[in-house]
Amino acid sequence: MRKATGWILILVFALMLSGCQQTVQEPPTEPTTEQNEPNLGNLAEQLLKVGKFPEMLALSSSRLSKFYDIEASLLDSFAIYVCAEAIISDEIILVRAKNESDIKDIQKKIGKRLATQKESFDSYLPAEGEKIAQVVSHASGRDLVYIVCAKDQIEPLSKLIVQAYQNK
């Protein structure tokens, strides 16, 4: 009888421990990241680290429609930063659509935003408008990448993006 009770207790503890381990081993935040897709949050952090950007503000999902006219529900994940100074055009746009079929529409909307920004800067601060004209862009599957940055940042940031998508 005592032996049986001992075995039951051991079993209960074993189950409890395995339960705890399962909780710890839950997959990270991005739910549907495929093998060839980098984590957009991590990529944005790398871009901010490598590139010389002014103070940038991260946009929350509730602000996507205001800035880009994009419904957050269409996106699987995103990392978007705009410059905190209204007179600087720097911008980092990393978006992953839920469905690849939405990519063209999203692309169009980002293009519209950049065109409006360019027009606004061209008559006021042409150098900032020029930065938008030379935007670094990359499309891969259901991902879109746009980076508006200083001219000397184009090369290192482009390399970083290519690497991020090659490594995956």
Binding site: P54, E55, L57, S60, S62, R63, K66, V82, A84, E85, A86, I87, I88, S120, F121, S123, Y124, L125
Partner: protein, 246 residues
């Protein structure tokens, strides 16, 4: 005997008069006391006491926190690139902000018709620097154009409080053929006078951002003309203070 009786009555009357005078005085003083007790309590002053604020107090304001004040929930803004920076504040996403890089007085007036602005109680206007840049403008023309815009705003928003903000001075290092602090000071003085005459609130917003000589502190500006985003809290704190205690 008669003398004694006289003295007796004299003493009695003196005593009585003393007693009466004391009781009379006491009654009067009591009455006075009663009167004071019966006075209604002094009502609380209706006018808000204006607290003193230093430039540093404004500079300590947290931009995000102050942008969420209920005061700004019925505010609208019209301005140029400086005002455009307000569109980055999440709390202002629902506020009407007419702001463009390079916005002038005439363009702002033209945009008014299409401007979507409801539930507006206070309208803050910060314009003028681009008018100096794009046109060779004298003070008279400047004030006429400002007046045109204010009249149009009054017509569309008859109940709203209009707040005209002084043009921010530039840093001494700022180099532009048409913009300098001498012109800005002249325009601001004329604008202030106009506002006084037309019962429009004029808000001097320079104090926390300027050096003793009246120029913009270059530490607060990315280019000697605009404000760093981190100082928007100081700007908003001033606007709230000026309107609340005007």
């Amino acid at each position: 005997m008669k003398r004694n009786r006289f003295l007796y009555w004299l003493g009695v009357s003196l005593l009585l008069s003393l007693l009466f005078s004391d009781s009379l005085l006491a009654a009067v003083s009591l009455r006075k006391k009663d009167d004071s007790l019966q006075l209604p309590e002094r009502p609380a002053l209706a006018i808000k006491q204006k607290p003193q604020r230093t430039a540093q107090d404004f500079l300590n304001a947290d931009t995000k926190e102050i942008s969420e004040h209920s005061f700004f929930q019925t505010a609208a803004f019209i301005g140029d690139s400086i005002t455009q920076g307000l569109t980055l504040l999440e709390a202002f996403d629902t506020r009407p902000i007419m702001a463009n890089l390079g916005l002038t007085l005439a363009k702002a007036k033209n945009n008014l018709e299409d401007w979507k602005a409801d539930r507006v109680e206070t309208i803050f206007i910060l314009l003028g620097i681009n008018d100096m840049t794009y046109y060779d403008m004298d003070t008279e023309t400047y004030i006429t154009r400002y007046g045109d815009l204010l009249s149009a705003l009054r017509e569309r928003f008859p109940e709203a409080v209009l707040v005209v903000q002084s043009i921010l001075p530039v840093a001494n290092s700022y180099d532009h053929p048409k913009i300098n602090n001498e012109i800005i000071t002249t325009f601001n003085a004329a604008l202030k006078e106009y506002c006084l005459q037309h019962e429009v609130l004029f808000a001097e917003i320079c104090q926390p951002f300027c050096l003793e000589d009246g120029s913009l502190n270059p530490n607060f500006s990315p280019d000697g003309l605009h404000l760093f985003y981190q100082f928007y809290g100081a700007w908003l704190a001033q606007l709230e203070y000026i309107v609340e205690y005007s």
